[in-house]
């Protein structure tokens, strides 16, 4: 095969000028590695956390906010509160118009096992959710399962632990049926979740989007029944004056503090659900609430990532920087190739003189650029893996395993290297084909 022969020529040619070859392959590798590292980081930071159903899981926003003022203005547009009131949460939960629905709030409490003394208790943070939460967000269970519907409504004293807490309190054993203390409350373990690092973590707002989830989950109604509100810790806002500091007046108030998520069976039901919450807002309006112009809105997962500003500009800037870096590398490589092919002028002239066509010359040098690109890509891939290890150390505050290149990205890396080196080799190749046989022969 002629192509095989050309690749052999290319290989010989690379070996003939080792320093130049190393420089060319090295620059491509550096550019590719930088681009891949930043892309991986950026893709991981902003990826869809629930790809199978992100278009049918929605954050519900209902604005029972003050008739006199907007919750917040963003670039002149009114924003709905990202959280809702207790009243509305309960009403929507009772209607249960979605396939699954859950409130999400956080609180903190001292936690210890039955054997531990109060002094050994640790302050831990909880997510207060409904039992559907685990299914909406595909939470994997190691032992046990979520609590039942009736337990959910009652707000039974039940808890789901994460693996780490289970390891710490129960030595990793199946703790379902055991009890732990949450503050003064004795609470039964119903489930232990397996390692779970949804990223970005969308369900409770932007502040902890790139952290691990809170370690414990209890029923929403359990938090309410036992007044386990950590107001110094959770996000909440009011526009009315509370009668007093009591839980009852807080629950009855127009204060917003609960995030509400709903999963629908099909993305097509979005309009129906929108109609439903609009109708709900209308109905409340007749009761004197919901006085704002735009009272309700739905955001699917990807939309709420944008609405809540989870995806940050920095990541995008980094990707642009890396692509510019790749271009600098490729320009560098192109210059080197130009020199390289030019240096082979005599050889080209000779080959042309003995009958090789321009196409032959082009294919021959084309093979060389492909070879350079492939070697550069493979080296780049290795560098990128190394770089991602370093990056994982740099971003040590993010969950482990985040900085991993997928096979698709790895293949893309090599393809990108070959493609770009060939593309940037076109000009040098063109220049090489323009070499006149006579001129070169004369100088011999």
């Amino acid at each position: 095969m002629l192509i095989g022969y050309y690749f052999k020529l290319a290989w010989i040619s690379l070996k003939k000028t080792p320093l130049l070859s190393i420089l060319m392959i090295g620059t491509i590798a550096m550019g590719i590695a930088a681009t891949m590292i930043t892309s991986t980081v950026s893709i991981m930071m902003a990826k869809d956390p629930l790809p199978e159903k992100s278009d049918r899981v929605f954050s519900v926003r209902l604005s029972s906010w003050s008739p006199d003022k907007a919750y917040q203005l963003s670039r002149g547009e009114e924003m709905l509160p990202p959280m809702m009131t207790y009243m509305d949460t309960i009403n929507l939960l009772e209607d249960a118009k979605g396939l699954r629905q859950s409130a999400v709030v956080m609180y903190k409490s001292m936690v210890r096992s039955e054997e531990q003394t109060e002094k050994e208790a640790k302050m831990l943070r909880f997510n207060s959710v409904n039992n559907d939460f685990f299914e909406i967000f595909d939470v994997p269970f190691l032992f046990g399962s979520p609590w039942s519907d009736s337990e959910d409504k009652k707000g039974a004293a039940l808890v789901v632990l994460d693996k780490q807490t289970n390891d710490r309190l129960f030595g990793g054993a199946n703790s379902v049926g055991q009890h732990i203390f949450v503050g003064p409350h004795l609470v039964r373990v119903v489930g232990v979740i397996d390692s779970w690092a949804p990223l970005p973590q969308v369900f409770q707002g932007p502040n902890r989007a790139h952290n691990l989830p809170y370690p414990l989950f209890t029923p929403f109604q359990f938090q309410v029944n036992n007044n386990l509100l950590s107001k110094g810790e959770m996000g909440w806002r009011c526009w009315t004056v509370l009668d007093d500091g009591s839980l009852e007046s807080f629950l009855a108030s127009e204060c917003v503090w609960i995030r509400y998520w709903v999963e629908l069976e099909h993305a097509t039901q979005r309009d129906d659900y929108t109609d439903y919450i609009n109708a709900y807002a209308e109905e409340q309006k007749s009761g004197g609430r919901f006085a704002r112009e735009k009272p309700s809105e739905l955001f699917d997962i990807n939309e709420s990532l944008i609405e809540d500003h989870v995806i940050e500009d920095d990541d995008r800037i980094a990707v642009w920087l890396a692509f510019a870096f790749l271009i600098a590398c490729l320009l560098n490589c192109m210059g080197l190739m130009l020199i390289k092919f030019y240096g082979k002028g005599a050889e080209v002239g000779l080959r042309r003189a003995v009958g090789a066509s321009k196409q032959h010359i082009a294919v021959q040098f084309g093979c060389e650029t492909v070879l350079i690109g492939t070697l550069g890509g493979i080296l780049g891939l290795t560098l990128a893996q190394l770089g991602l290890r370093l990056t994982a150390d740099t971003f040590a505050h993010l969950p482990e395993g985040l900085m991993q290149m997928t096979t698709a990205l790895a293949v893309l890396t090599v393809v990108l290297a070959v493609f770009s080196s060939t593309l940037f080799g076109l000009w040098p190749i063109y220049r090489a084909t323009q070499i006149q046989p006579s001129a070169q022969l004369k100088s011999q």
């Binding site: 006199d68 950590s230 110094g232 800037i317 890396a322 870096f325 130009l338 971003f395």
Partner: protein, 402 residues
């Protein structure tokens, strides 16, 4: 400078290789300028003062073991008294949030009560009569609240009637004379508040927030199920004070302590993403400088190999080694300089895009000059070895055929 003309005419005749180098330098320059600028902005954020005496101050959260308002207030006051009596503690206050801690409140503010007036959001702190002293704030006009003026605010229920503002806030509404805000009424969350004092510097809890410099400090004792306490230790006794306070509070059964942190820890926690980003940017810069070195080195080296015969001829005609060396260095300097000039244009264009899309501040001219200088030096370093090689080409080479 007698080399200038031949260099230019050589460059003009074999355009493509130097042109590529010029492009590469231009792109490198563009990235470098923006990366360096990003780093400097981010690093400035890391060390930006919060307004507090961070060396002696630490914070903690603890629970209040009651649900009855009267009892809650009494318990908190007792805790504060006990902490203040510790020998390692100089002062203590109860607040709603701490600068840089990432969790806090903000309120819409303005000079009038209507929605149109409420045009800016402002960081909102509450603190008692010890707040200014405990934090170490500098009161630059007016006066702080006295003991009798402090209201107890259970779960943010109380509204202040007067407040202190940061100088940043005062300058926002009275840019010509910030002192003029003293004694005037401003509206916080649509309610009138009398400005009684101005503190020099008090930053919000979110350093990347647009309104980071604008804060108000309301004379309230924030009390809830949890309270946030800020302690000022005696000079040099911060660690001891942390231990003492924890020990004291844990004497009460059922006491919960959380987030006992000094400001080194708070900064560490707040800026971990920024630190990671800065580190990444340093890698980018290192890679780029290395790449420029390699690129220039490779090009120069192989041009010289190509020109051996020409150089030999020049040497045979009487050019000294220093002449050849100077020729190579000058050639490189010219190419790099053209690259930088083109780079300045690209960098400015790229920066305009960054400013538009990512709300970045425009790059000061100083950075352009600085980065240009660095690239010029890197270029000269890279060309040293090849130039030296060229200078050593023997004149005899000219007489031989290649």
């Amino acid at each position: 400078m007698k080399d200038l003309k031949p260099i230019l005419s050589t460059l003009w005749r074999a355009k493509s290789a130097p042109l590529l180098l010029i492009l590469q330098i231009a792109v490198t320059f563009t990235i470098l300028v923006n990366a360096v600028y990003l780093i400097i902005q981010k690093e400035a954020m890391l060390v930006e003062p919060s307004g507090l005496d961070e060396d002696v101050v630490f914070t903690l959260e603890t629970n209040v073991q009651s649900n009855q308002a009267e009892e809650m207030i009494a318990l908190v006051k007792q805790d504060l008294r006990d902490i203040r009596n510790l020998s390692s503690v100089e002062n203590v206050t109860v607040m709603n949030a701490f600068p840089l801690s990432n969790w806090g409140s903000y309120v819409p503010t303005g000079l009038g009560p209507t929605e149109e007036d409420m045009n800016i959001y402002t960081g909102y702190y509450t603190g008692d009569e010890h707040a200014i002293a405990a934090m170490g704030l500098e009161l630059i006009a007016g006066e702080g609240p006295s003991e009798g003026e402090i209201l107890d605010s259970i779960d943010y229920s109380a509204d202040p009637t007067h407040a202190l503002v940061s100088k940043g806030f005062a300058e926002l509404y009275y840019p010509d004379d910030w002192r003029a805000i003293l004694g005037t009424t401003v509206y916080l969350d649509y309610k009138p508040v009398l400005v009684k004092g101005i503190v020099k510097e008090l930053k919000s809890v979110w350093p990347d927030w647009y309104s980071h410099d604008n804060t108000v400090l309301a004379p309230l004792r924030s009390i809830g199920n949890d309270i946030k306490i800020l302690v000022r230790a005696m000079p040099g006794q911060r660690e001891q004070a942390k231990l003492d306070v924890a020990q004291l509070l844990l004497k009460t059964p059922g006491r919960q302590l959380d987030r006992l942190l000094d400001y080194q820890q708070i900064r560490q926690e707040k800026f971990k993403s920024e630190r990671a980003a800065i580190k990444t940017l340093y890698w980018v810069i290192a890679g780029l400088v290395l790449l420029t070195l390699l690129g220039i080195f490779g090009q120069a080296r192989f041009t010289i190999v190509k020109r051996r015969k020409q150089i030999g001829t020049r040497r045979a005609l009487g050019a000294s080694r220093a002449d050849i060396l100077r020729y190579c260095m000058t050639e490189n300097a010219i190419v790099t300089f053209i690259g930088i000039t083109l780079g300045v244009l690209c960098a400015l264009l790229a920066n305009v895009q960054l400013v538009n899309y990512f709300d970045m501040a425009p790059v000061p001219v100083m950075y352009l000059l600085l980065v240009g200088g660095v690239i010029l030096i890197v270029g000269q370093l890279a060309v040293c070895q090849p130039a030296w090689m060229a200078a050593r080409v023997s004149p005899a080479l000219a007489t031989r055929s290649v």
